[in-house]
């Protein structure tokens, strides 16, 4: 089934390329061109919405940017003899259109992507409306409601392309955009997108700047839309605001949802079916919105993963081959360098009027396992959030290896070698164990969008090295054999270990574990203890927030006890166990005397 899902788009493309030979008629070719162009826009939207999880309902406006740009430029240049002879004005126009759309995508992305989900969708609607209005009102440039007519036909050299020839040109571009889509999705860049869709906090914890990632993917997606729009302008030879109404944006989103958002061939199916459907329903033109409205509801109700979603691999629990013993030497080259020391100096953080952490000061030695304990609500997680840059301290400072630590984001902290896990697990849905760790490993390589295009997805010596590293880390936490298992099917204890493996991927000098044993059974806790000791042997500094005292006593070198946001005791495990204030904080003052 999965094979079929992969091969289907190519089969369809092959059919499409033969079609003009088999069927006569310009109208048919015209329809084909429209399917391909909408397909190109849908591919761009699929990368954005399907893979990265960022809904846009403004893609028609971005498409308009591409169409109008090329229309204006190519019309202006067409009379010049040089361009008439070379046809360059068309291709310059298409390039310009793509760039202008990308630029407007950036302009929109910077403000819009500070918010997420439904907010973003609504903002993109407003953007689409603004563009639509500008096209209507700026008559001197856009021609207003009448639009721009007599846009030059596409030509190669001095030869003007017939509809049939243009059909093949656009088909080739469509195939190219499918190849690009695959490259993007299978590259480290694409892996980040998929991870971000599931957990923005999780992806930030491995050192990736979520905002920048979102802006990049939005620009890429806008470029696809602009490119499609430019091709559209040279097909129609006429553009008007009506071509780019809000409704078209809904159409594109519907196309990928119907085809299968986040599948490689979803946009192909979606664009084809939704473009051709109204042609077969000619008499229903009056009821177009009803047809599309019902289509939306029925699709989302009965085909939540779209047509291509049905071909996805079944989500059963895999039965992996388990390595009996985790490789002892796997952790050897894991720590980038020696662990770093941390010092908190009178650090405070208030929320509203409530002080979650008050003037907390303590030092964590390099290479030590330092436990942070205290009753629920004592401020332990807040301290971790402060160290990892998730919160800004209200006052006080933190020193990393003696130098002031100045980070304002979790990804910034991760890049400085401060990694963490989470009390409530933040994994990337059905991505595999290997992919989880790989996201972290490749985050340091700055493998961005361009290298995704150039290196061509999977493979390459760099990525082979990353995969080897990731496998080693997975073995190190005792998950060897589970590499290809989707994280969503892992047992709870294994998910906790996977979070540790992911954190290790950024080569941390300090690793902060936020209640790693919560919800684990006795054997799992024992295994976790072994992992912590193994990590300590690499020289890494480990900060452990935990309630399971037996684990804490067993693995910790030092323990700091916090209550009500302040440090109430500190010392070796033996000292702390005897401390009266600690007993009082945990069991109530009445137990102290006894």
């Amino acid at each position: 089934m999965r094979r079929l899902g992969r091969g289907l788009p190519w089969l369809l493309l092959l059919l499409a390329s033969l079609a003009p030979l088999l069927v006569e008629g310009t109208y048919f070719r015209y329809l084909g061109i429209i399917v391909f162009i909408y397909g190109i826009v849908a591919v761009g939207l699929n990368v954005l919405a399907g893979y990265a999880g960022q809904f846009s309902l403004g893609h028609a406006a971005l498409m308009a940017m591409g169409a109008y740009s090329t229309a204006i430029l190519s019309k202006a240049l067409a009379p010049l003899p040089f361009f008439a002879a070379t046809g360059l004005h068309i291709w310059l126009g298409i390039v310009l259109g793509t760039c202008v759309a990308a630029a407007f995508g950036a302009l929109l992305a910077f403000p819009a992507l500070r918010v997420r989900g439904p907010y973003l969708a609504m903002v993109t609607i407003a953007f689409g409306w603004v563009i639509f209005k500008i096209l209507q009102e700026w008559v001197s440039v856009t021609g207003g409601d009448l639009g721009l007519a007599s846009i030059p036909k596409a030509q190669i050299g001095p030869w003007e392309l017939s509809t049939r020839e243009y059909y093949y040109v656009v088909l080739a571009f469509f195939a190219l955009s499918l190849v690009l889509q695959r490259r993007i999705v299978e590259s480290p860049f694409g892996m980040r997108l998929r991870a971000m869709k599931h957990s923005e906090i999780g992806i930030a914890s491995v050192g990736i700047n979520v905002y920048r990632l979102k802006v990049t993917v939005f620009i890429v997606s806008a470029a696809f839309a602009g490119f499609g729009g430019a091709l559209f302008a040279h097909q129609q030879n006429y553009v008007s605001p009506d071509n780019f109404q809000f409704f078209s944006s809904v159409f594109f989103l519907l196309a990928i949802l119907f085809g299968g958002a986040g599948t490689l061939s979803g946009p192909v199916i979606g664009a084809a079916v939704l473009t051709l459907l109204p042609e077969f329903l000619h008499d229903f033109d009056k009821y177009r919105l009803i047809v599309y409205g019902s289509f939306i509801l029925l699709t989302l109700y009965f085909l939540p993963n779209g047509v291509m979603g049905m071909f996805r691999r079944p989500q059963g629990r895999a039965t992996p081959k388990i390595d009996a013993e985790p490789a002892q030497d796997a952790s050897r080259d894991m720590a980038a360098s020696r662990g770093a020391s941390l010092e908190l100096r009178a650090i405070s953080r208030t929320f509203g009027g409530v002080a979650a952490v008050r003037e907390a000061s303590f030092k964590i030695e390099a290479g030590a396992v330092h436990a942070l304990i205290g009753p629920n609500g004592a401020g332990k997680t807040t301290i971790i959030n402060l160290i990892t840059g998730f919160y800004r301290a209200s006052s006080g400072e933190i020193l990393l290896d003696g130098a002031p630590l100045n980070v304002s984001s979790m990804d910034g902290a991760a890049r400085l070698g401060i990694a963490r896990t989470f009390q409530t697990i933040k994994l990337f849905g059905e991505m595999t164990v290997l992919e989880h760790v790989l996201v972290g490993v490749s985050s340091s390589s700055r493998a961005g969008f361009w290298s995704a295009l150039l290196s061509g997805g999977r493979g390459g010596p760099k990525q082979d090295g990353d995969i080897a590293t990731a496998r080693e880390l997975i073995r190190c936490v005792g998950l060897g054999g589970y590499e290809e298992v989707p994280a969503s099917t892992l047992a709870y204890g294994h998910r906790r270990l996977l979070e540790i493996a992911r954190a290790l991927a950024v080569k941390p000098r300090v690793l902060l574990l936020d209640e790693p044993a919560a919800g684990l059974v006795a054997e799992e806790i024992a295994a976790l203890g072994a992992v912590i000791r193994r990590l300590k042997n690499t020289g890494m500094t480990i900060v452990l927030v935990e309630h399971h005292m037996d684990l804490v006593i067993k693995v910790s070198d030092r323990i700091t006890v916090v209550d009500h946001g302040t440090v109430i005791a500190e010392g070796s495990p033996a000292d702390v166990q005897r401390d009266a204030r600690v007993v009082a904080a945990y069991l109530g003052p009445s137990h102290v005397a006894a």
């Binding site: 989900g117 439904p118 907010y119 609504m122 409306w129 209507q136 919105l289 409205g293 509801l297 997680t381």
Partner: protein, 291 residues
Amino acid sequence: MSFFLQIAASGIATGAIYGLIAVGYSLTFTTTKVLNFALGMWVMLGGMITYSLVVQHHVPALIVLPLVMAALFLLGVVAERFTVLPFLRAGSDVWVMTTLGVGLLMIDFAEIIWGRSPTPVPSFLGNRPVVIGPLSLLPQQIFIIAVACVVFVALDYFYRRTLTGKAFRAVAHSGEVSSLMGINTRWVQRTSYAAAAALAGLAGFMVVPLTLAEPQLGTVLGLKAFAIAIIAGLGAPRGILICGLVYGALEALISGYLYTGVRDILGFSLMILALFLKPEGIFGKPIEERA
């Protein structure tokens, strides 16, 4: 100066409508993080039903009003059950599309039932302008401003003083904990969605005498209201009223002094800018994320 005041005052009446719709977004968003993306179409439906009853069937306006609100409330309950709840349960965001899908259906059905051409609807308060100092306002405009103020005061009282209102705010904070505390979370979710629909109906009822009744009436209204809700902050009903009134006044002034064509361009650009500078809104509290 009197031209200025005159324009600003009638703009404020329009702004009150925006505020009423915008607070509908706030109602559902604060309780469930859900937004009815087609709220403008619900306003249109309210307006078209008003048109149908008042103009075609000669029903007295004061009977039409509760009818419209009740109808939209019930429709809201049904729509929430079938187009929001299933996706809310699955933890997915696709209700963005389903609520929009409902809106598309509404537009087409409205066109089939009532036709596409815009039709005037007389105000039940008559058309004789009321002169207050330098201003001359339509009775309908004064009515709108008064109703909006009453609704907002009532809402404020509801949120802050009544137990049910506190329950709404609790659900907004954490649905899970609220249900542990014995609050019927489902009831709150359903009611807030339906109440937003009813408010949209009220807005539709009040707006058609000023504009015209037509199936395309709501699309832009809904968008503008959303812009206002964002600029003010979705969690701040009082701020939404203030922003709505100011937005309405500014918009009227732009049309009066500049040119109607640039009105919406400026308005929506302002929203995008506001988001950039203050994502949580002017009156909103910063959103604290949790790790």
